[in-house]
Amino acid sequence: MSVVTNTTTIGAIDAPSRRNTELMMMAFAIAISVFAYANVGLAIDGKLPSGMFGYGAGLILLGGVAHLVVRKFAPYADPLLLPLATLLNGLGLVLIWRLDQSERLIQRAETLYGSYSPDAPKQLLYSAIGVAFFVAVLVILKDHRILQRYTYISMAVALVLLILPVFFPAVNGAKIWISLGPLSIQPGEFAKILIAVFFSGYLMVKRDALALASRRFMGLYLPRGRDLGPIITIWALSILILVFETDLGTSLLFFGLFVVMLYVATERTSWIVFGLLMSAAGAVGVASFESHVQARVSAWKDPFSCYTTNGACEQISNAIMSFGSGGTLGTGWGQGHSDLIGFAANADFILATVGEELGLAGMMAILLIYGLIIERGVRTALAARDPFGKLLAIGLSGAFAIQIFVVAGGVMGLIPLSGMTMPFLAYGGSSVLANWALIAILIRISDTARRPAPAPAPSPDAEMTQVVRP
């Protein structure tokens, strides 16, 4: 697919850096976000929002800094990743600001917590910190292969991050938070990157053993018992997350990520079959005794059941009605009632606002933007020259894709709902920070992959070995 991969021995091809393309796309992404902001202001108050200048300036500053850093530190990076992330982050800010204006949500906050504070300014701050993360990764991480050195440290940190929430009180039914004073962190978002790093390092070393040392049985390669260890460990860990942290999304994400990376590393389809069987067994097993999983599944089967019988489905049914009410073209920004969802309208359920106010057209656009990011990530994996980079890139993009599918599919009633956030769109500090870091790593890998190889030493007999075409 990629031309660049096979060129290492041929010599320097002058790969275009595409930095100016990126700049144009950035300008486009920021302009769309600023127009969207103006649109919401006009729809809700009938005038341009007062914070428009600050918002626009903030976005230009963030995007500009990110672009300059890429230009300087990763000149051959993929030109689409950064603008796409910026566009999503900018649109997300507008969506959150739009929900901040909702009388219904303000009242709800005031009756529940006695006070109300808008989320958009906080999200802008998180975005700034996220971009700072992005810059830091690009500046510090000169070569992604350095991460290979931290394979087992990554694993240890990831495990700690994943297990810690068990010791903190559940927030709204799910134990996915670590609260430190005013700060609360959703460690799962960061763990996603660390786990991908660990898997890449681990599988790079073990792939041959896992791929070759196996017996054939009924057309499948059965791995040796001792090689089953890691997959069973990860499987057990996901089940534990599901049981103790009641976090369906994270559990699915880790297991899916592991199976994907294992398959890429070993090229053995049997791992996928095993993975599917194990996740099915785990899901059925847990669902048989965990009431919250059962509740989610029953709300998924009939989202309107709670209106006739007892049960909790208001959120999912409201989200589904949001999508329906949006129709093909949507009600227009600021003119829908997606805030009826109430709790988590601007976080897990932010897609419902997109669906209602931007309609089918907007939803398809947003989903395709995510699709593009994933596609650029996979392309980076294909282009990467080293197995570690390939594994890391596919791991990160795979995690991204699974997360999109789990969240969007849950909100749209395609699969049972699980509490995770739409990357960049949804409100949440951890999510924004981790996803900016994820994009930074992908950009770093793509820079390495697309960087022209150093010119080979001039060969004395170059003249004589010239290819003569008939």
């Binding site: 009605m321 398809m364 994933i374 894709a401 599919g409 749209m412």
Partner: protein, 485 residues
């Protein structure tokens, strides 16, 4: 490693594709169904998002909208003189939906009706707020007021029609309720409604359209019409073949008259004047059940009537002989709504032509353009013009020097019929006082009215159509005539 990578790329593509298919399914295939679900609060939010159009009487709105704070619903319905107009307008509540005109004309009032599509599209481009259209009623404010005041604290109903067009001029039901008390969405509204629903006087019942009463002696007008139409008797001043006492067929009992009145072989005119049970019971028996059903049906019995608000069907049922004879004097299983009895009076007053009753004269677009005007429409012809005029003479005698003298108006010809309908087991409960009448001027009859008073407080002996109901009818007729001057 590139082969599995490409497969993973396809897998990711399938994930995104699944989401795209799902969003198409939700937002395109199921959009209409989801958008109109009962659980979807947007439907009601939308209904109350704009100022609702008004229901108009005599050129002035009897409704209004006020902005509410702290609710999903921006505008709340209010009524001017709510209890008086409630039987006409119905209610429109943020929490409890709507009824009657408010519900039937919801499309016009909210501006969502298809007929207003052009206005909506236009205002979308001119960036105007969407507005509701108006519903112009046929009601006469003065008549409505007279009827409401006349009934006062008594339980009862009044229905008045313009016999020449079928326009409803008054529609009152007491005790009534103020729809404003539960127009909102708060606990207070909910409690107020609960209280109204629990009230044993049923204030939310629209007695003028939705309650059927035994019509009592007022039904004798229909029986007389049946006698004339079927040629049983032709002259109203010829003696009828009516023995006294008259035994109810197939029974051992005599049909009694109220008091000692001259009913033996009385003429039709005298029989109606004195309200002879024996004469009309025998007419009904002579004609038989089927002919009585046919004639009552021509007056509107046995079917629901849409004004457009639905009125319950009045009943003249299939029955055995004694029951049919009793039904001929408005007792037994014979039941009628006040609107139905007003239609009877109106048909007689309009020389036998019964016009379709209606209460929506016009619908207006938000810019006040008229988008619908009611064309008057004949409902049926229950009796010939000649017979109608004979019946008019009989009814006028009742008012001039019979039981209905309380309905006399100076300088106006008035025809009427009283009724005292017995009900309850063995007539244990206080009877209903009925009065139906019409007024006539040089240009035909401008008003026909039916009044029923179900007053359990009054002394039993004082209850009579002439005493309780006729003065109310007189005031309503007078109000209509005065307002035409």
């Amino acid at each position: 490693m590139n082969k599995p990578l490409r497969r993973i790329a396809i897998f990711c593509g399938i994930l995104i594709l699944a989401l795209l298919v799902r969003t198409n399914y939700l937002q395109y295939v199921r959009a209409d169904e989801l958008n109109s679900r009962d659980e979807n609060r947007r439907v009601r939010i939308e209904r109350y998002a704009h100022e609702r159009g008004n229901i108009i009487v005599d050129g002035n709105p009897v409704t209004g909208s006020v902005e509410t704070k702290g609710s999903d619903f921006k505008y709340k319905r209010v009524w001017k003189n709510g209890p008086m107009w409630a039987p006409v307008t119905g209610y429109s509540s943020q929490a409890f939906d709507a009824s009657q005109l408010e519900s039937l004309e919801d499309g016009i009032l909210t501006g969502n009706d298809d007929q207003l599509f052009f206005d909506r599209t236009l205002s979308m481009f001119t960036n105007d707020k969407q507005q509701g259209g108006n519903v112009v009623t046929t009601l006469n404010g003065a008549a409505q007021k007279a009827a409401f005041k006349g009934l006062g604290k008594k339980k009862g109903a009044v229905a008045a029609l313009d016999p020449q067009t079928g326009a409803i001029l008054a529609l009152v039901s007491t005790p009534s309720y103020d729809p404003s008390v539960f127009a909102g969405n708060s606990d207070k509204d909910s409690k107020a409604r609960q209280q109204l629903l629990k009230d044993k006087n049923k204030p939310m019942l629209n007695r003028a359209l939705r309650e059927t009463y035994p019509p009592g002696s007022t039904f004798k007008v229909v029986t007389a019409a049946a006698a004339l139409e079927n040629g049983l008797y032709t002259g109203i001043d010829e003696p009828t073949k009516s023995p006294l006492p008259w035994r109810l067929p197939l029974t051992t009992g005599n049909l009694a008259n109220e008091g000692n009145i001259p009913c033996e072989n009385a003429t039709l005119r005298e029989a109606l004047r004195w309200s002879c049970n024996t004469v009309f019971g025998k007419i009904s028996d002579d004609l038989g059940n089927q002919k009585m059903i046919d004639e009552a049906g021509k007056f509107g019995f046995n079917k629901e009537i849409f004004t457009p608000v639905r009125a319950d069907a009045s009943v003249y049922p299939k029955d055995n002989r004694p029951q049919n004879a009793m039904a001929g004097i408005g007792q037994a299983s014979n039941r009628a709504t006040p609107l139905q009895m007003a239609m009877v009076a109106a048909a007689v007053a309009n020389d036998g032509k019964l016009m379709q009753p209606y209460m929506v004269a016009e619908r207006q677009a938000p810019n006040l353009d008229t988008i619908y005007t009611h064309e008057k429409e004949q409902f049926s012809q229950p009796l010939s013009g000649e017979n109608a005029q004979k019946l008019q003479q009989m009814m006028e005698t009742v008012v001039k020097n019979g039981t209905g003298t309380n309905a006399l108006i100076d300088g106006v010809t008035v025809g009427g019929k009283t009724g005292t309908a017995q009900h309850g087991l063995n007539n244990s409960e206080n009877p209903y006082a009925w009065f139906i009448s019409y007024a006539k001027t040089d240009s035909g009859s401008p008003v026909a009215v039916a009044v029923v008073v179900e007053d359990s407080q009054a002394n039993r002996d004082d209850i009579s159509g002439g005493g309780l109901a006729a003065p109310i009818a007189r005031d309503v007729m007078k109000a209509v005539i005065d307002s035409k001057k």
